[in-house]
């Protein structure tokens, strides 16, 4: 519920961002957690509710906008980034979110995702990765593992999976992060970072589809093993993990390796995470770390500044007005060789 803050402003609460639509995901679906964190985050951002827009494609994940009491657009499969681009470049004052899935964003919509990231349109893109097509009832997706048996791959998938972070980095995305549905605090803070970044923020969220791909991430994300099998990235800090903070990641040339702290290996030998590194190579290294060879990195992999497409475009308009004056339609209509007929 909204309440007045000390400076007299109305401070909104999560409830203000809950729409009147019944939530229609399977009980137990990881989507609930992402929705809750997103709703909780909203009041923190200080953006007026009417200036927030959620745009999605098609998929279970893409139903999220219905549940947000903001403006929303549940569009068509794979195309949300294009609609978001059109909206953001014409209405730069809005905060525009794109909600997509591993099928929506990486299969049919892969190209739009790539182009929006390279252009660096100022959007927050959240990709719910459940490694399956949920809405169409369980076919393998571009992030499914080799050998995965699904309705459409009864003999096991033979499609080499896409690593969403590698693609984002390949497109030189300015903000790249990963989180997971069940770690709600991490999720919330990652989404917040994404929302506050200027430029395209790409967040992959591991999300459990308990109906068609249950436990996809449990091997490393289950609470009991998580500290030993994931690593939380923090800017400026060495890459340490383990229940007892006794393990770390060191670079050997360009290769990461897991080391035990102690026995001659100290924190100073470890890779220090620098999310602002303009060179995305270390980010690429992190993005490729996978369980069981490595702990799975969670957090902000990259966060760099580069001009946004929307700013550049609006600047060009302003520059044109400055240099040629506000467009004079009569002059344009009358330009070129003209003549009078009496």
């Amino acid at each position: 519920m909204s309440q007045a803050t000390t400076d007299g402003q109305i401070k909104l609460a999560r409830k203000d961002f809950v729409s009147d639509q019944e939530v229609r995901w399977c009980p137990g679906c990881g989507d609930y957690s992402i929705l809750t964190q997103t709703q909780k985050l909203m009041p923190e951002l200080g953006v007026p509710r009417e200036n927030i827009v959620f745009i999605s494609g098609i998929g279970c994940s893409s139903r999220l906008p219905y549940y947000m009491n903001t403006y929303g657009f549940h569009s068509i499969h794979g195309r949300a980034p294009t609609i978001a681009t059109g909206l953001k470049i014409t209405r730069p004052e809005l905060q525009v979110w794109v909600i997509t899935g591993d099928g929506d964003g990486l299969s049919i919509g892969g190209n739009h995702l790539l182009h929006v990231m390279r252009r660096n349109v100022d959007l927050v893109i959240v990709l719910f990765n459940n490694r399956i097509y949920g809405l169409t009832k369980g076919q393998y997706s571009p992030t499914s593992e080799i050998g995965k048996r699904t309705k459409s791959s009864p003999a096991g998938s033979i499609d080499y999976p896409i690593n969403p972070l590698s693609i984002a980095l390949g497109a030189e995305a300015s903000f790249v992060a990963r989180s997971i549905d069940i770690d709600v605090r991490h999720l919330m803070s990652t989404l917040e970072r994404a929302a506050r970044h200027k430029g395209t923020s790409f967040v992959e969220v591991y999300q459990n589809c308990n109906v068609f791909n249950d436990g996809a991430f449990m091997e490393f994300a289950d609470k009991s093993v998580r500290p030993d099998r994931t690593i939380t990235l923090e800017h400026g800090k060495p890459l340490i993990f383990g229940k007892d903070n006794d393990k770390g990641i060191r670079l050997n040339g360009t290769r990461p390796e897991v080391v035990d702290l102690g026995n001659g290996v100290s924190e100073s030998d470890l890779l220090i995470h620098d999310e602002t590194d303009p060179d995305p190579i270390v980010a690429h290294i992190l993005a490729r770390m996978q369980w069981p060879e490595f702990p799975v990195p969670l957090g902000v992999v990259r966060a760099v500044d580069r001009p946004t497409y929307d700013d550049l475009l609006n600047d060009q308009v302003q520059d044109a007005i400055k240099s040629s004056g506000e467009g004079d339609l009569t002059a344009i209509l009358n330009s070129g060789d003209t003549w009078e007929v009496e």
């Binding site: 403006y71 294009t82 609609i83 014409t90 739009h112 003549w339």
Partner: protein, 619 residues
Amino acid sequence: MSTENGDRKVEELDRVTIRFAGDSGDGMQLVGLQFTNTAAVFGNDVATVPDIPAEIRAPAGSIPGVSAFQVSFSSYDIHTPGDAPDVLVAMNPAALKAHLSDLPKGGMIVANSDEFTEVNLKKADYDSNPLKDDSLTGYRLVQVPITSMNARALADSRLNTKQIDRSKNLFALGVMFWLYERSLEPTQRSIKQRFAKNPQVAEANITTLKAGYHFGETAELFPVLYSVPKAHLPPGKYRNITGNEAAALGFLTASKLADKPLLYGSYPITPASDILHELAKHKNFGVKTFQAEDEIAAIGAIIGAAFGGSLGLTATSGPGLALKSEALGLAVMVELPIVVAVIQRSGPSTGMPTKSEQADLLQAVFGRNGESPVAIVAPATPSECFNLAIEAFRIAIKHMIPTIFLSDGHLGTASEPWRIPSLDDLPKIAVEYATDPDTFQPYTRNDKTLARPWAIPGTPGLEHRIGGLEKSDVSGNVSYDAENHWKMTQYRAEKVERIADDIPHVEVIGDPQGQLLVLGWGSTYGAILSAVTRARAAGLSVSCAQLRHLNPLPSDLGDVISRFDRILMPELNLGQLRMIIRSRFMVDAEGLNKVSGRPFLIQEIEDKILSMVKSEVRV
């Protein structure tokens, strides 16, 4: 009528059509445009059509490398760039070979004799030199050694040989100006402007232009001079304009009239790219152009822009429309005002990208899944592209519906004089955004138009969600209810039908009833009107009407049709609008169809009219 000029005859003509043809590198488009401007500024009515090779650059001197430009200028109001040229200017053998078949016997050929060398003849697949064998008997052949005369004229110019050679088109132009008694003034002005930074080149160009003119004067090649007096056009200020330019300016004007910014999202494709190029120049109007990664992204972006309250525009041709069809269906479901300009070209598939036809109409009307109606307008002349571009946005906004602006390559690239409108004469386009949280519901409807409210992000209290799933009446929530789906399907259909109350009635040219109505749409207008005018002059009972609104059709169309014994529908397709008309009005409309990438000849339509109407008056 003929008079004397010096010692030669001057013959007065009411219309002349010249085709300039040469190698792509020969600058034919430029001289064509110069001639056009000169004629227009003089006061003729003009109509032009370029014929640019499909290949980027075929080998110099080859037939696929030939580029041509046809200009027709007259003392009366003309409607087509002429069926066939009266004069063919052939800068090389390939140009002659490629275009001779269009020149009627008795026509004049001005050939650059210097280029009819053995090498060039071979490139054009000539076994013997047509200037020397008898193959051109029956034409009025005028040989001019253009290349060498030009070189001689510029011998002192300090330009290098390549530069000199590039000027020979202006020599040819000079000759033609003399032949048709035109002033060199407009061309000289334009050369000076163009080469302001390079006075040497400017001077050389003018020198050779004049040299050509004087050559015409002194040489004994032309027994007669021709003059085409001024046309009687409605008074006003004029300029030449192509359909694509006119469309671009129309869209810009619509943005001004609605006082809302325009987002133009597009992916380049022939023959629509010019609209992108034109609009990209006008950023200082607040127009944003977004070159998207593909056609789908382009329409996606403008749907997003329309959601945000801007005018969303995209342009493409047939293959692009095919790709946009899914997203266009989304726009139908969310009922947002966007305009999709379709500049048709020859299909199917990649087809013949630089040629044109009218075969995307049914794709425009039906090419989406489900019952998914959109509004469609279709300009009939290049300059009309301006008005109908505005009309497209007027309809889209007032009726909250995606609207297709259906033009074609002929209209897009052909030019004609355009009476420049005054902004004050153009009615504003009213835009109303919803603002009242107490009464707002996303899918309420305007009583008259059935339009839903335009409610844009940023408006406090109007937060709502739209999307491609079926919407519940009024609330706009997702609905799988059977009754509701039926209701909404009918709303969407009726919304389009109601536009009929908001568009002009059919304009019949000729008598309001009679034996035959020639019913057309789009770029066939000029040929139809000319053919009907001729037939009426011969006393036949024929009228014509060109439809500018294709969905919905004008409300009185059924009445109009019922007043004629027979209906003839010439279309550059296999009978697409005809199918709709036959079905809708149960009228046995006949077709005249042509799918060759070329426009109708007046003669073709006239012949068909003659075959259908008994010429009582004449007999």
